[in-house]
C-alpha cells in the first residue's frame, strides 16, 4: 500500500492506494499535539510500502517515519491530475491558506500563488463568521443559497469582517443574506488571486472550501468557467502525496 499523509492545521488526512492505483483507504482526524503518534496508531496493522507526507506538519511525519516530504503545492497538483488529467488550474481553500496552482500536461505545477499570512480568503475566515452566526460550516452553503438579497461584506480582514457581521445582525439583516455576503467576499478574494495567474480550463477546486456548493457556484460565475470539484476534495493533498509515493517506487522498477 502507498500512503499519502497530509497534516493540515486543523485536520490530518490519510489516503492509501493499492498496487492497482485504486484508492482503498481514506481517513481523517483532527490534528492534535502529536499527529505523528495518531498516524502511527492508524498505520500499525497496515501493509505500508511507501509513505510520502505533505502539509503544514509534514516535517514531523518525516522525522518519525523517515519518509520523503513534498510541498502542498506539488501534492495538490498531483491529486488534481489523478482525477482530471486535463486539469490546468487548481484552486485550494484550506484551513489557514488558500492557493492557486497552474498544472502542465504532465501533472507538474508550473506556477502558483499562495496567500500571505492573513486569514482573509481562507477557511479560517468562514469559521470565524460561522461561529459568530452560531451556525455550523455544513449549514453554510444551504443557508446562503436561500438568500433573498445580495449584500456585500466590504472588509477583507477577518477581524473587521467579524465586526461588520455583528453590525449587520444588529441591523436585523437575515442570517441567510449575511452568509451569502460572506461566501461572496471569499469568492471575490479567490477570484482575484486566480486571475493574476491567468486561469485556464479545466479548473479544479479542492480543500474543505470545495464542500460549499454556493462557493463553487459563485466561483464559476465570477471566473466564467465551469469549476470542477473532485471526489473527496478535502483529501486531494493526501491523495497527491500517495500518488507521489507510487511514483517513487515507479522510478525503481
Amino acid at each position: 500500500m502507498f500512503y499519502g499523509i497530509d497534516v493540515g492545521s486543523t485536520y490530518t488526512k490519510i489516503a492509501g492506494f493499492n498496487e492497482e492505483r485504486e484508492i482503498i483507504d481514506l481517513h481523517v482526524f483532527p490534528t492534535q499535539v502529536n499527529p505523528d503518534e495518531d498516524v502511527k496508531k492508524f498505520l500499525k496493522d497496515k501493509n505500508v510500502e511507501v509513505i510520502v507526507s505533505t502539509g503544514y506538519g509534514r516535517y514531523m511525519i518525516k522525522d518519525s517515519f523517515n519518509c520523503p516530504v513534498i510541498s502542498e503545492i506539488k501534492a495538490h497538483a498531483k491529486g488534481a491530475y489523478h482525477f482530471f488529467p486535463d486539469v490546468k488550474t487548481v484552486i485550494d481553500l484550506g484551513g489557514q491558506d488558500s492557493k492557486v496552482i497552474k498544472v502542465d500536461e504532465d501533472g507538474n505545477f508550473s506556477d502558483f500563488k499562495m496567500n500571505d499570512k492573513c486569514a482573509a480568503g481562507t477557511g479560517k475566515f468562514l469559521e470565524i463568521v460561522a461561529s459568530r452566526l452560531g451556525v455550523s460550516l455544513n449549514e453554510f452553503a444551504s443557508l446562503g443559497e436561500n438568500a433573498d438579497k445580495k449584500i456585500k461584506i466590504t472588509s477583507m480582514c477577518a477581524v473587521f469582517a467579524e465586526s461588520e457581521v455583528i453590525s449587520l445582525l444588529a441591523k436585523k439583516e437575515s442570517v441567510e443574506n449575511i452568509v451569502y455576503g460572506v461566501v461572496d467576499s471569499i469568492a471575490d478574494r479567490l477570484v482575484s488571486m486566480v486571475k493574476s495567474l491567468r486561469p485556464e480550463e479545466r479548473i479544479v477546486f479542492s480543500g474543505g472550501g470545495a464542500l460549499n456548493s454556493l462557493l463553487v457556484k459563485l466561483l464559476g460565475e465570477k471566473l466564467g468557467y465551469k469549476v470542477y470539484v473532485p471526489q473527496y476534495p478535502q483529501f486531494l493533498g493526501a491523495i497527491g502525496a500517495a500518488v507521489s509515493a507510487i511514483e517513487l517506487v515507479g522510478d525503481f522498477v
Binding site: V69, I70, I73, Q96, D97, N108, S110, M114, D116, K117
Partner: protein, 436 residues
C-alpha cells in the same frame, strides 16, 4: 557576557534588565540558526565571536572613541557617507532593525502599518536596549521613504537625528542638492571633532572603506563563482555582510580576506556546503537587518542555497568603490564620492531600471537557478517596485517567487511551503534540462 559590561550599560543609561532579556533571546536564536550548520569554514569563527561580543567587546571599543571625543554615528541606510566619519577618526555603524522584540514598544508611538524595520529600530530607542543607539552622537536619517522621514521627526525628540535629503531622481538638479547635503554632513562631523578634515584624512577614510568593499566583493565572487561548489552558506555570508556594518573596518577587511583565502582553498579542494545539484537562489529586495535571518534559514533548511543578496545588506552596499585616481583636493574627493553614491539603485528612485538590468546580469553571471523577491510588509518602495522587476524576470524566463513578510515567526510554515514548492519546480526543470 552582560555582567562584565554592566558598567558601560549604566553609563549609557540602558534598561539593563530588558537588555539581558534581549540578549538571551538573541543568543539562543543565533546558536539555533548558525551553529547548527554543518561544514562551516574555520575562519567564520571570528564573525561568530564578533556576533557574540556585539554588545560587549565592540561596545567597549566604541567607548574609547567616545572618551576621545570622536564621533559615533548610527545609521539605517547605505546613503551615509561613512568615509567622512572614518576620516574624522570616528566610527559609523548600522543600527539593528530586524527584531520583533522591540516592536510592541514602538507601536505605542508609531502606526502599526509601517515597515517592521523602522518600528524595530525606533523601539530599541524607546526601550533603551541598544548600546549602539545610546552611544551615538547622532543617528543618521535620510528621506528615502515616507516611513523613515516622518519617523525621524519623532525620533529626534528622543535622540539627536541628522537628516540628509536624498533625492528621488538622478538628474543634475538632484545631484546639486545631494552635493550640498554631503558638505553639510561633513560640517556636522567637523563640528564634533572641532576641526576641518584635511585632504589626507579624507583620502585615508575613503581608502579604508574602499578596502572593506573590496573584501566583500571578493567574498561575493567566491561564494558564487563555481556552478557546483559553494564554499560557504548563504547564512554565513549574510552574517559577514551584516557584521560589516558594525566592526572596525580595517580589522574586518583583514578577517574577510583571511576567510576568502580559505574559501579559495575549499574551492580548489572541492569542499562545498551543499550537493552540486542544489538549487542556487538569489535573494533580492528589502535589506535584512540583523537578526532577521528568517528567509535564508528557510531556504537553506529546505534544500536550497542562497548565493547572493541584491539588497542594501548585500550587493548594493559594496558593488561600487570611490575612484581616487588623480584626486587632488577635498572637492575632488567629494565629487567622486557623489558619483559613487549616485549609483546606488535603491527603490526610492524613479525610474530605477538600472536595478533590473543589474539583477538580470547578476543572475546570469552567478549561474543562479531562481530568484526570491523578498520584501518587508509595508515597505512600499520595494513592494511596489516588485511588479516591474518580476514582469521583466518573467519575460526573461527567470523563475521568481515573491515573499512578503515581517519579523514574527507566525508565517514560517507558509513561507516554507512556498519555498519548498519553488525549489521543487526548479529541481524539476533542472532534471529536465539534464535529460535533454
Amino acid at each position: 557576557m552582560s555582567e562584565k559590561y554592566v558598567d558601560i550599560y549604566k553609563k549609557l543609561d540602558m534598561d539593563i534588565e530588558k537588555h539581558s532579556e534581549l540578549m538571551s533571546a538573541l543568543f539562543q536564536l543565533f546558536s539555533d540558526v548558525f551553529l547548527t550548520q554543518k561544514n562551516r569554514p574555520e575562519n567564520i569563527k571570528y564573525f561568530d565571536w564578533l556576533m557574540s561580543e556585539i554588545h560587549g567587546k565592540r561596545i567597549e571599543e566604541l567607548m574609547e572613541f567616545k572618551d576621545k571625543n570622536k564621533p559615533l554615528v548610527g545609521t539605517f541606510c547605505i546613503f551615509i557617507p561613512e568615509e567622512i566619519v572614518v576620516a574624522s577618526g570616528g566610527a559609523c555603524y548600522g543600527l539593528c532593525g530586524g527584531a520583533q522584540f522591540s516592536i510592541p514598544d514602538a507601536e505605542r508611538d508609531l502606526p502599526r502599518n509601517i515597515c517592521p524595520l523602522i518600528k524595530s529600530a525606533y523601539g530599541f530607542k524607546v526601550q533603551r536596549t541598544c548600546p549602539y543607539t545610546q552611544i551615538s552622537n547622532f543617528i543618521y536619517g535620510e528621506t528615502t521613504c515616507e516611513a523613515k522621514k516622518k519617523t525621524w521627526e519623532i525620533l529626534n525628540d528622543l535622540h539627536p537625528t541628522h537628516v540628509m535629503h536624498i533625492p528621488h531622481m538622478k538628474g543634475k538638479r538632484e545631484k546639486d542638492l545631494w552635493r550640498e547635503e554631503i558638505y553639510e554632513f561633513k560640517n556636522h562631523i567637523e563640528e564634533i571633532v572641532g576641526k576641518e578634515l584635511t585632504f589626507e584624512e579624507l583620502k585615508k577614510g575613503v581608502e579604508i572603506i574602499n578596502k572593506k568593499r573590496e573584501a566583500l566583493q571578493r567574498l561575493d565572487y567566491l561564494r558564487s563563482t563555481k556552478p557546483d561548489i559553494v564554499p560557504i552558506s548563504g547564512l554565513d555570508s549574510l552574517l559577514v555582510t551584516q557584521i560589516s556594518f558594525y566592526d572596525d573596518p580595517e580589522r574586518f577587511s583583514d578577517k574577510v580576506f583571511e576567510l576568502c583565502d580559505e574559501l579559495e582553498e575549499r574551492i580548489d579542494k572541492g569542499i562545498s556546503v551543499c550537493e552540486s545539484d542544489t538549487p542556487r537562489i538569489m535573494v533580492i529586495g528589502t535589506p535584512m537587518a540583523p537578526p532577521n535571518w528568517k528567509l535564508h534559514q528557510v531556504v537553506e533548511t529546505t534544500g536550497g542555497i542562497v548565493i547572493n543578496e541584491e539588497a542594501c545588506i548585500g550587493h548594493r552596499y559594496f558593488k561600487d568603490n570611490i575612484d581616487l585616481d588623480g584626486v587632488e583636493s577635498v572637492e575632488d574627493i567629494i565629487e567622486r564620492m557623489l558619483e559613487r553614491y549616485m549609483k546606488i539603485d535603491c527603490a526610492c528612485f524613479t525610474p530605477n531600471d538600472e536595478r533590473i538590468d543589474k539583477i538580470i546580469k547578476m543572475y546570469r553571471e552567478k549561474k543562479a537557478d531562481g530568484i526570491i523577491y523578498y520584501t518587508l510588509s509595508f515597505c512600499h518602495t520595494y513592494n511596489v517596485e516588485s511588479k516591474k522587476v518580476i514582469d521583466r524576470l518573467k519575460e526573461e524566463k527567470i523563475p521568481v517567487l515573491k515573499i512578503e513578510s515581517d519579523y514574527s515567526a507566525e508565517d514560517v510554515g507558509q513561507i516554507k511551503t512556498r519555498v519548498e514548492a519553488f525549489l521543487e519546480s526548479i529541481r524539476f526543470k533542472k532534471s529536465f534540462k539534464a535529460k535533454r
